[in-house]
Symmetry: C2
Subunit: 295 residues, 2 copies
């Protein structure tokens, strides 16, 4: 019998993930804040829609949640209508949201008291990875929970890395976000300089990607900067949420992160300009704006 899988949160990431789970043949249950959304997707995917996480949880072996931040994850799993009130012992919750490691650990513990398994499994790869089923999962939690949920994760991503107990997945994602954010500044500064220097951008980009300057950020975000495509694949406001978590966590651990903190501040200037919904590659425009002649 196929695993019965529930999806809670049907946003940018959750929706394409639900589609891939349906495609993989899982018996699918959906719930999200806006009931109309889960009903529409349920009818598209021949899935069932539920009014609450608790109701959904009653008929699921594995529950995947993709939510904006810790308060939503706590509400969905531990709140009055949370999965904890419906899930049978042995059910596994896989939370793909990016939240603080401490929050993940504390939710895991509460669920464990009811015999419910937990994996924090934040992802890298963005909406594109979610659509194509090529996400990378940073996984924290118990081995047994991972083995039960592995077929579900395998339908969603191409790499599943178990990094330790509950919270370790979030810590791994934090490392990812530090590097992603600082690489973004690297490309923005490099290309802002290149523009002012009047260099031919396409040839330069080709030369840069062939050598020690290469990065995913240069290849993907650099290209978008050059095309002045600032549509969000990963929005500034989401990067900022993640960096805020990271910087708090780093302070607690006693790790100074001057470059990541700088990027957080630079992006906050773009938020102040009302550009929080833009893609992170819009950081380029801040460098341009900083150097505009005064009016």
């Amino acid at each position: 019998m196929p695993l019965r899988v529930g999806c809670i949160g049907l946003g940018t990431m959750g929706t394409p993930m639900a589609r891939n789970l349906a495609k993989a043949g899982f018996e699918l249950a959906l719930a999200t804040k806006t009931a109309a959304k889960s009903k529409a997707l349920a009818s598209e995917l021949s899935a069932r829609a539920y009014d609450s996480p608790a109701e959904l949880a009653k008929s699921c072996d594995v529950i995947v949640s993709c939510l904006p931040d810790s308060p939503e994850v706590e509400e969905v799993h531990l709140g009055p209508r949370g999965t904890i009130h419906g899930a049978a012992r042995g059910t596994v919750v896989v939370d793909c949201s990016t939240i603080a490691a401490e929050a993940a650990r504390s939710i895991a513990q509460r669920l464990a008291e009811s015999g419910i398994g937990w994996l924090d499994a934040p992802v890298s790869g963005g909406q594109k990875g979610a659509i194509e089923g090529t996400l990378t999962f940073f996984v924290g939690g118990e081995e047994a929970a991972l083995e039960k949920a592995r077929p579900v994760l395998a339908a969603l991503g191409k790499r599943i890395t178990h990094l330790g107990a509950a919270g370790a997945g979030q810590l791994g994602k934090a490392v990812n976000q530090i590097i992603v954010a600082v690489n973004l500044a690297a490309v923005s500064e490099g290309l802002a300089f290149a523009q002012k220097a009047g260099l031919p951008m396409d040839s330069l980009h080709e030369a840069l990607t062939a050598g020690a300057a290469n990065s995913w950020a240069l290849e993907v975000l650099g290209k978008k900067m050059m095309q002045r495509d600032f549509k969000p694949a990963f929005a500034i406001k989401h990067q900022q949420k993640d960096l805020a978590i990271v910087l708090r966590s780093a302070r607690e651990k006693g790790v100074p992160l001057p470059a990541a903190a700088l990027v957080h501040q630079l992006l906050s200037a773009l938020e102040a300009q009302g550009r929080g919904e833009d893609g992170t590659q819009a950081l380029l425009t801040l460098y341009e704006k900083m150097a505009e002649p005064r009016a």
Copy 2:
């Protein structure tokens, strides 16, 4: 008849480049500050050694120089015993040193007055690229000079990108150095955090390189950090020389580079510790040191 090629400067980069030119069948002439060095390499490569750039220049069609900084490049080409006093009209100087774009432009102009061609052709790819003949060249200068020197560059690298007139190659390299330096900080901060978080570094590195955090810096320097291999492929002191050039140039152009400037300052702490000869990946140790408990 094969091109007669001269190599001036036989250090970390110049020596393997001379070897590749010999292998490619060019008639080779060598000169460097330490006469014993050029004599030894000349005998190994069946090349001729010369006492001065001017002497060498007399018998060369193309002259490749790989030198530490602007003063050396000026001395070698324009000084009392410089190539300008020996080279025939139509000779092409290919300077692979990383120097300021303005210095490149001014040397190019002086050489042009004597009918000598010029290319600034700083490289990316490091010693490894020099040994394997897989360098990337950022080229500035006239098309005709590039066409003459192209077979020489083709024997040394896998990518030759012409970015514009004299100086443009240096500007392209500056962009490369901005990105390389900031990517280095990205990896250092990420891995310093990961260590303190107690994550399994090998698994984490695999997961990170599969996604949006990936970069040459993460793959190559990150690996070395994890192995605590701080031997120089690219020494801190060289990165610092390049960043100093970049930051001066950026200020002149009116481009703020806060992240690159931060990395320059962080690396200056390592220089203060006497670690200027270490590889740039030693930046990781600064993060570790900053967070050491007080004695």
